[in-house]
Amino acid sequence: MSEKILLKGNEACAMGAILAGCRHYFGYPITPQTEIPEYFAKHMPEAGGVFLQAESEIAAISMVYGAAATGRRAMTSSSSPGISLKQETISTLSAGDLPCLIVNVARGGPGLGCIQGAQSDYFQSVKGGGHGDYRLLTLAPNSVQEMMDLTILGFELADKHRNPVLILSDGVVGQMMEPVSVPEPVTSFPEKPWAAVGAKGRPKNIINTLHLNAAVCEERNRELQAKYKRIADAELRYEEIDTQDADLVLVAYGISSRIALTVKNRARAEGLKVGVLRPITLWPFPTEALRRLAERVKGFLAIEQSAGQMVEDVRLAVEGRAPVAFHGRSGGVMIQLDDVEADVRKLLGR
């Protein structure tokens, strides 16, 4: 670890990608993620890599598909409307077992929405934004440090499982500046004998997602579901803070988890038994951890910069064992600490 440097979240993401060995970035300008392509435009040439500004979001993710098919660590980034445009290819990358990284620095929606940070793309990220039965391993950074660390981890997990990985960030984490410890570059990469690089001395490789025979297509789906189970078993990540004796557990990811932590600290200073559960992977989701907590806490408060999306998964996990309240603002408006605190007091009868 070197000394810390001050970076924007978006810059940390791009820097992390280069440290992870990504040398192929394809993207398109959209606020609030544009510092990512700008960073690559500046730094990919000196890293000996490819930065290409595509003609569209669809072309950008298609280029990622092509580069990933040749076994390269490839990525794209965008913000909410642009991520919507990429969904057909994201489904196809999943169906084709192609590892790659997709970064969504989310903004308020629906439609063109606004350019301020929001968390209203949770459903799209973890419930299948594109067509078919597929899952994206979804990582949710809540700091500039994690924008770098989870980007590096994302490439590792993508290659490990031959699956696309999504970083679901937001405009606040993408734009804010914090000190970052920069890790050493990744130097060890897995072999990819399946890649389409020319059939020298072996039978040809095919990257394909079409199966005209329904029985074959079903078998392919069984393989994918088995992979998703392996990922769910191996890659769940979350943190619990002060939940041991908690009466109320705040559930929040990304930028909302920073708000939840501050609210929790203020509540603890007043003697209120408040804890925080922060999902780091949104899929897989910490269902079991929530279920365990539901046996002994008085309730949960899900906090999101949305009209209420992740809260549905919290309720599914808790299955009525404890009350689940929700606090959110949508359309890119920031949640206010005082408002969350008022909810916490009300829920604890104070």
Partner: protein, 246 residues
Amino acid sequence: MEEKLVFSRPEALTDMPTHYCPGCHHGIIHRLVAEVIDELGVRENTVGVASVGCSILAYDYFNVDMVGALHGRAPAVATGVKRGRPDSVVFTYQGDGDLAAIGTAEIIHAAARGENFTVVFVNNAIYGMTGGQMAPTTLDGQRTQTSPAGRDPHLAGHPLRMSELIATLSGPSFVTRTAVNTPARINQTRKAIKKAFELQLAGRGLGFVEVLSTCPTNWGLGAVESGQWVDSHMIPYYPLGVFKED
């Protein structure tokens, strides 16, 4: 008596029977691409990009590494493949619905960037795989399932001449339109495909070979009549020739 081998399957083709209809020209064009790959000795270094349409199963027919692209996206996928492996030989094989409608942006911009791969564009003036709907290349007055009274230019505009359009860009090194409905034209098409691959090997940028083809099933014609229809209807609107050569 000593046997002399005078004809065989190119190594760059598999022995899988194709699903193409009798009288369809895809089989001829596949063979020409495979012959060129063999002649240039690049089979083990080639990555083909298949598209969506009748030629979607090209990934099964070419005996090279293949990547199946989504509808229209082959030039963007090939961009990623070639940028990923600049030393490989890359081609896309696309039909007219794929390249000239849903994938117009991708081919225009790949050509504008002068991406260093080869495009084989098979134009049969109709959507074949989905059962004969109007394509951007369907001729004025041509009857299809979605232009049952014939293509009406007031409703649908006139068909796109993609070679002429691509030739206006500075990126491509070679743009040509050929046909395969006579033996002489088959030889010309082989030469054109070979030239496009050679230009790629020389790092000269995108080569675009449009090949006029048939669709007997959806045109409602026999195999022989389809070949004649290329002469009587397609070539007058889609003239053969070289449109750009650096």
